[in-house]
Subunit: 406 residues, 2 copies
């Protein structure tokens, strides 16, 4: 087994703390996973990622679609898998590539067998089936893999959503069958054979459980990645219910709630999450994909979502949008600052006086505005570090208060 | 006085170790100064700069021309000067802006009074005189300021070089007169008044001498920046001699050798440096501006150059050019690697197995190639860190061997 999950007792609103034991270490939940699309959380060095929030990023996500196209999953397999390739020895999750195939690639042709598409990089033709997605993910070697699903356009009719969901269920079953047969083909041992090179040995002082320890852990006697299913069903409660029931019957290590935060009103997102959570097993991790703003992250964690990921903190950072805690007299729990505004040109305060990150300890808004306006590469780095701190510190705080409840 | 310099006895080839005491701390020489054009060493966070080489970057350079145009020297003055503005409490040097006016700006019009030019950013019209250059540099508040000089085109005739040199000497005298009258107008105290903001206090644990200590240092009873003169004279030994003599008569805190590495053969550069060094006082720091490749840096340090700066390590890094030590069987002391080459696609070695930098400790050539090919912002950061390590470690080594000689 690739995973064990210890979930605490839920709070009145359903939130709970937990610990997810994965082949590359333990993850305290609820957790936010920074997105490292191309085997890098954009503009942030790995050692910096390890020092954001109270304990650093515990787990990061990489995108199968991007890595499949460049540098190629077979190359990453030969390099010992993603962990060794990028010098990151904490847990990782890969998505299935489905969402990017549907949002980035060109000339898609969906058949019951899979999706034919053209690369957004060079127009070359490719085909992803559930089996191929899992094969690529096994080559990448993350700790958590995701089933290949169809992502329906928004808005979609009930009939269209039902048909797409049916395809997603069939693909989930095929994803699981392929994973069962091939999950031990991860390249982790190839990686450890190459440890004599002097690269990648820095993990020995890491407090998280490395592979070698996982091997002696009874919960991971046969180290292998685990597989999460993805509940679809659009904005239709009856379809969400049917999808959750079908996925739970198939028995996955964890369950994602997909197809949300795609343009629907936020009350609908919340409703769909709330009703789906009720239908998922309490002893398995529950993951909402691709959300959201800091207050959403907090809200969903407090009702029982264990895992979330989003490009927002890093993408917003690269566009000069920074998150900070509201001060007395300001609306809302989080304030969004557009650092390029003239009002910050001579502002000697840190982004957030209550923030403990290395950016707020050292740099002023005036300096960050200058870097952004001058298009200096350091702007993306410092802005991203701060925004990730805001997200990770938010979840540190939520975990603390949920732990008091349980 | 803004500077004291303790120079050790020279080696057989003229090289010497020394310690430069500046208002913001001590600098061991010979030293390489990373270039932080727009108040940032491109793509490298300040805390990382403090951990490159044995003791981090001891002193960095910023460009007066760029900062004058954006964000403006008056803004930086109001922010307490460059040190506070960018969160860097170690020594800094600013150039005069002259070189950039002659290489970047448009529609230059040189008169005995100064240079009229148009901004390369927006075409707006500006005028730099020696007095204005020093006024801008005082507002920026570096530890070492440079006299305003004319940079002659290359190649230039003897007559043209002589006339330009004459202008440079007149401007050096005017630069010094303005500096004498205004050097105490640096904004350092404005900075320290604002220390209650919580930003910029990280310097208290820094091993380098901060301002507060400099105030109690008898060598800097009246803390002020120091001023270096710039020897010109092109590629003509007689003009170089005349320029050095004239500058030394004017008495500066240190002397730069300018107008080199502008396209002339390397033997000529070396000859000009060698003959000019002979003419400069042994008890003052000697600075060669804008050089060079790692082996040049080492060579000049070994014949008695105390200070150097160059954009090469960081600019080359952003273009994927990395420096590493030669291995047995390879030519030369330093090897230049073009990381985008296919041969590195699956190379699991670090850039330089003998390098102690954080990049070589953690990342493979294969990963760095992937980042560069995928145009990931982390490529510029990691490549720059490694190249700066190569330069700073080279000078750590040269200082070590010169110290043994003296």
């Amino acid at each position: 087994m690739g995973l064990t999950f210890e979930a605490g007792a839920p709070s009145a609103s359903g939130g709970r703390v937990g610990v997810l034991h994965l082949p590359h270490g333990a993850v305290e939940t609820p957790v936010f996973m920074p997105v490292g699309t191309a085997a890098t959380v954009k503009a942030v060095p790995q050692d910096t990622l390890e020092h954001i929030g109270r304990a650093g990023a515990q787990i990061i996500l990489a995108n199968t679609y991007h890595l499949y196209l460049r540098p190629g999953h077979e190359l990453i397999r030969r390099m010992g898998g993603l962990h060794r390739f990028m010098g990151w020895d904490r847990p990782m999750l890969t998505d299935s590539g489905g969402f990017q195939v549907f949002s980035l690639a060109k000339l898609r042709n969906v058949t019951p067998d899979g999706v034919e598409f053209r690369s957004h990089l060079d127009g070359s033709k490719h085909f992803f089936s559930p089996e191929h997605s899992i094969a690529v993910q096994i080559a990448l070697g993350a700790d958590i893999l995701m089933t290949f699903d169809e992502c329906v356009e928004t808005p979609a009719t009930w009939e269209r959503t039902r048909d797409s969901m049916g395809l997603t269920h069939a693909w989930a079953a095929r994803s699981k069958a392929y994973w069962l047969a091939h999950r031990h083909e991860v390249p982790w041992e190839q990686g450890s054979e190459k440890q004599g090179s002097g690269i990648g040995e820095q993990g020995s002082e890491d407090p998280h459980t490395p592979i070698a320890m996982a091997l002696s852990d009874p919960c991971s006697l046969i180290p292998a990645p685990c597989l999460f299913g993805i509940v679809q069903g659009g904005m239709y409660p009856d379809l969400r219910r049917e999808s959750a029931e079908r996925l739970v019957e198939m028995d996955f290590d964890g369950y994602a709630i997909g197809g949300l935060a795609v343009g629907e009103p936020r009350e609908v997102t919340r409703e769909m999450i709330g009703l789906t959570l009720e239908l998922l097993p309490k002893d398995k991790p529950r993951y909402v994909m691709g959300v959201g703003y800091p207050d959403e992250i907090e809200e969903y964690a407090r009702i029982g979502v264990d895992m979330m990921d989003c490009v927002l903190p890093t993408r917003a950072a690269r566009h000069g949008l920074l998150f900070r805690a509201a001060e007395p007299g300001e609306d809302g729990p989080a304030v969004r600052m557009n650092i390029k505004r003239l009002e910050y040109a001579e502002d000697q305060r840190p982004i957030d006086p209550s923030c403990g990150c290395m950016v707020c300890q050292r740099y002023t808004r005036a300096y960050l505005r200058h870097l952004f306006v001058a298009r200096e590469p350091l702007a993306a780095t410092l802005n991203s570090i701060h925004n990730l701190e805001y997200y990770l510190a938010t979840l540190d705080r939520v975990r603390g208060s949920l732990a008091e409840c349980s």
